[in-house]
């Protein structure tokens, strides 16, 4: 996976976010993301920021699969005072690991398939809000959107995603 390499690159002078990532409302997961931000417009208390970064997610669907995915992201954030509206989308890939022993029929009978699962493209997009915590440096965020897995079967499939977490500035500003 690329994400262990990308993380330190993206950490320089930007922010690290971590949080609870739930798919379809209740399938649990965790996510880590980084982002480098630049303010492109400001007027009074309002500002427009663009960002580039990456996200790594680990999600478990019981009796289905565990999925590890990573993406390179682009986004924008419109701040009005303390509250910001965030839009973020990522182009990525990942792998699933089936949540049960897998067998395949061969000429010599059934044979187990270790670490069975599949690779796939896993782009995603989400919208949400963020704002500062009482301490100031750390901010909270909440977002919801869709992650697609393709191919799946003969087609593709969307998964609802919902993330809540904290963003922490790291490195030199």
């Amino acid at each position: 996976m690329l994400w262990p390499l990308l993380t330190p690159l993206c950490l320089a002078g930007t922010e690290l976010a971590a949080g609870w990532s739930a798919e379809s409302g209740l399938h649990p997961g965790v996510g880590v993301s980084t982002a480098r931000r630049a303010v492109v417009a400001e007027r009074g208390a309002a500002s427009l920021t663009v960002l580039a970064g990456h996200t790594t997610r680990l999600t478990h669907h019981r009796q289905r699969h565990t999925r590890l995915s990573a993406s390179l992201d682009l986004g924008a954030s419109v701040a009005l005072g303390a509250l910001a509206l965030d839009l973020r989308a990522g182009a990525g890939a990942g792998r699933t690991f089936l949540a049960g022993q897998t067998y395949v029929a061969t000429d010599s009978g059934l044979e187990p398939v270790p670490l069975a699962g599949q690779w796939g493209w896993m782009p995603w997009a989400a919208a949400g809000f963020s704002g500062p915590t009482r301490g100031g440096r750390v901010s909270w965020f909440a977002q919801a959107g869709l992650l697609a897995q393709l191919p799946l079967h003969d087609h593709w499939a969307p998964f609802l995603i919902a993330d809540v977490g904290l963003r922490i500035p790291v490195g030199a500003r």
Partner: protein, 328 residues
Amino acid sequence: MIWLLAGCGGLAETLFLRHDGADLRVRIEGPSDPPAIVALLHGGPGGNSEEYNTGSWQDTVEAEVAVAYLDQRGQGASQGVYDAEDVTVAQLAADTDAVLALLEARFPGTPLVLMGHSWGGALGIATLLQTDAPARLSGWIEVDGAHDVLLLNRLAVPMFLSEGEAQIDAGRNVGRWSEIVSFAEGVNVERITADDSSRINRYGFEAEALIPEVSVEEGGALDLAGYYLSSSVGWPTERWVGNHTADLLAYEAEQTGFSEQLHHIGTPSLLLWGAYDFVVPAALGADAASRMPDAELVVLPRSGHAPMFNEPAAFSDTILGFVHEVIE
């Protein structure tokens, strides 16, 4: 918490079978050393096995035998990658036979009984007719099975008329029944169109809901919230994937008609129907029973299309009685 507790002390195992591109999920629950396994084919197409893994019927049945809940290709928690051309009735029948072979290998010496509900009934019949499955099976249970869509549509029309007129005479839901009867009167049973078929299905569910004799077990059939909370797939994803697979199978499933081949099925069979099933009328079960050499028809009097949730105790007792009979 529900799934943390589920299966404590017994068999609760999830297996996958990689077959012709699909990773087919099988969830097996029951006693730790089951005397038999009932492999369940869900309805649809486009359904999933978790819709059945709920309510008191499965608690009763799983106390004595194991139930293997199979998610068919392109449905439920099954996964994998393959071409759209691989979504056919014959391929799903081959998948089912392969899963039976997996269960045979995983539980050597344990008798297998195949059970299919609604669309799963049609798939089970296809599996019995088109694969080597009969050699693996001790029995076959068809529950309100749609093994002949053309015939079941023809049989549903007079059922709408006779029951509708009886309900109108009794003064029950006169407006709704009048609409259903009016529709049925307009159907040419010798030339049923795709639109007729779709409306027969829709009116079938509506008519069943209008019959006061048909009860639904409290907490049995999952409501949307319960299903959303219990699904291993995620409701929107499961609907998206299932509907796509249903579209691929729709035409072939609509043309499915196995009645003329039923006499080839020698596997001991239980045909279990709800008396008020307008979607797949019990008359289709009676027709099948007359064609199959070793079949018994049981009609549950207060059930509709899903007798496992209408009369769970009678349903479970009938299933267990048949399973014990065929494995002895």
